[in-house]
Symmetry: C3
């Protein structure tokens, strides 16, 4: 694999292979497989889990990682073609990326949505520029469209709980004071569909995921025997689900969505969990704003797998890095 | 040892053991004792010595370290229970700490005093939350109440100068334009008392250390045969001392202290050092504001051990990390 | 070598030795030559190439690096002697540097020009303070006067293109919206002269490099059989050149220079490159502001060696670090 920036780089079969390798290595860790390998990580946005788990994956297996923070210690980067660079972006990705690719064996990049529009997120401008200009293997640490390592960690957690990913899963919208990006819900949906789950997405009117992402998920479901369903009825959606994954995201571009503050009843509480299957688990990518996005009783209750889910970031990323660094 | 965040985690005997190991390994360094070990360091505040010396201790012995800066590259962290997280703190310590503990073998945290009150510092809210939620060994890189690695480095420097820690030591208040935290003077006092020194603390009226810290120091002195004395008479306090340790700190909560600017004569000068013992040494934890907090002639004079004292941070921390990583 | 902060630390012979070793190791990399070695890197200013290439040089050869950013995670540092430190600089270089030298085997520092004056840049205050107070080997990652690793990387790129550095080279001024420092043009001039090139510097009236730097370059040229020429006629300067190196810099202190915005025709375009030798190459230290400083067609055209030039930073720095860490 030369790049892993979107789930389509793996597809359903590739996703299953990564989950299988992640699970096997979680049982019995490999040795110094990243000996003499160097990963250059470029962050346009903050990180806790992503940074620490990628660094740990390299360092624990004989490798090393370099961290650069765009606009904080390193120059702001331009991604647009042909512009006169007289603004605050002192360097173009056309230079920065091939330069870093000379020092490191692979690159990792985090570049959140600009918030301009769903169409802009589909285009994924910064990630696309990295991908176009990197001669080295590239992995996404979340971009405008997807957070593909998160999706894989989520499904590994489902598999650990139920021995299979082919179970009813519900992704529910959650409230927040800010219109957060859709990369995480997109990746949960896409990865669950690619892993053959029966997935229901519940969100208020006006908070729909894009047609492109929904169509991609439906194609995966068709290939894997899973199913994809979209609803605005949260109570119906959580009923009987084996896993409830909650995430806040902003309205669809141009939609007449209700203001987020008015949607407080969408916050998952213990009552929601009691509607789910008896052995249901609760997932969230973290960071989570307690009592705004998810109630304390859910996060501190018996359903929560959020810490284990974050731990699985390490495991799926180790498997992905092996594929990128050792087999590309 | 599962955690080292306050001197009471070691007690007088444990402190002596760490000093003994630090001194022995300073003579003859151990090999790759931290092979396959990863330390995750979390900074709420700036650092030079602490960061570099902890990283060096891990790296020089086959281990690795990850550095996260709260609010600068990673999310701001909430420590309060039960709040609605709608402010600028995007993640709770209840998630962040157990997540990091999955990636690393031990955690280190720096979280200075909030400056709210002495009582709040006694409670040590951020450090306490880290300690409550970390399944991994935890070490303090300075918190609201104590800077325990600094205290041990100070006493190692005393021991190197005089062959024993059981000597007359003076901790003197020094001027500054800001009301600095009391963690460093607290730790000097506690560690000196735990090491059996005869310690005098000189500070202007209204700048007293807390009753809790003074009582703890007195208990250590009783156990070790040392002594603890508090005075507002700086000249008397420095007379005959074997070591003078200077530090600026803020007034006691609620006290009618003189403004710090009016206390400029408290700044240690060569004249102060000449009142001390003939072979007296000068200590300061650094960073030090020259000619505001301590005069150039002291820092550049024959008494100064401040660079060696900072070097000893590496040595005591290596000994502590061995205890936490290899024996916990 | 105890320090490499200015080209004069190497001189013409030393520069040739570093280029020879860099070229040889680029063909056949050495093994774990930096085993057990730790480099402490201190940044007063942002970096991409410098930070990543120095870290890579250490990490790829068994060593390690620590990164500190002054004023961002670590204290602001004072370099002036005898001042009352009541401003925003909490620590003096007189403490910080010897302290770091206890934890690491060598120090690296980046401290750009203050922009005060050419005379202040000649004095190189921060770098000079580091050099005065470091007991450990010291390397410059760019200071007010020079960026000596960049100059060596530039000349290695010339040597790779033509098999020799004794060719006609042109350094041309380029437009920018800010008066950038002169360290990079200074180092290109000095290193080219020390490597025996026939170098022409083209800049608008009022943008002259300092008399001290020009005299030093002329002395090197005399020793190596090269030549140094200064002109305000850009077209004549680029004619027949084997390499054109472009860089923006600010006016000479006190000069009646035309405003930079009025000098837009100085921006190198394809037309400039077509005046040069048929096999001419284009150099720039990066970051480069496209279409302000250099036209897209140059950077994306057949002449550009800017990525290879940045790659050569790694190679010359590996050779320099070997000299500092293994032979000092």
């Amino acid at each position: 694999m030369k790049a892993f920036t979107h789930l389509r780089d793996l597809g359903p079969e590739g996703a299953q292979e990564i989950l299988a390798r992640a699970a096997a290595w979680k049982q019995k860790a490999p040795g110094a497989i990243f000996q003499d390998k160097l990963l250059a990580m470029v962050f346009f946005n903050p990180s806790l889990r992503t940074r620490a788990s990628f660094e740990a994956a390299m360092l624990r297996h004989g490798g090393n990682a370099i961290v650069l923070e765009v606009g904080n210690g390193t120059w702001k980067l331009e991604d647009r073609e042909g512009v006169v660079m007289d603004g605050d972006r002192a360097e173009h990705i056309k230079e920065a990326v091939p330069v870093l690719a000379q020092y490191a064996d692979a690159l990792a990049v985090r570049a959140f949505s600009s918030g301009l529009s769903d169409a802009e997120d589909e285009r994924d401008p910064i990630l696309s520029a990295f991908r176009a200009h990197s001669p080295a293997p590239l992995i996404s640490m979340e971009s405008a469209r997807e957070h593909p390592c998160q999706g894989l960690a989520d499904l590994l957690t489902v598999q650990e709980a139920f021995g299979t990913t082919k179970v009813p899963l519900t992704l529910t919208w959650a409230p927040h004071m800010k219109p957060l990006p859709k990369a995480v819900p997109n990746s949960f949906l896409l990865t669950a569909a690619a892993c053959g789950a029966d997935i229901t997405v519940a969100a208020p009117e006006g908070y729909e995921l894009t047609a492109e992402v929904r169509a991609e998920a439906e194609a995966y479901a068709k290939a894997t025997g899973g199913s994809v369903r979209f609803t605005t009825d949260q109570a119906a959606a959580v009923k009987g689900a084996k896993a409830i994954c909650a995430k806040a995201w902003g309205p669809a571009t141009g939609s007449e969505a209700a203001p987020m503050a008015s949607l407080q009843p969408w916050m998952p509480t213990a009552a929601h969990m009691e509607l789910a299957a008896k052995d249901a688990i609760f997932l969230h990518c973290l960071p989570v704003r307690r009592n705004l996005e998810v109630h304390d009783r859910v996060l501190d209750g018996p359903w929560s797998r959020v810490v284990q889910e974050a731990g699985n970031r390490f495991h799926v990323q180790r498997a992905l890095l092996a594929s990128l660094l050792l087999e590309s």
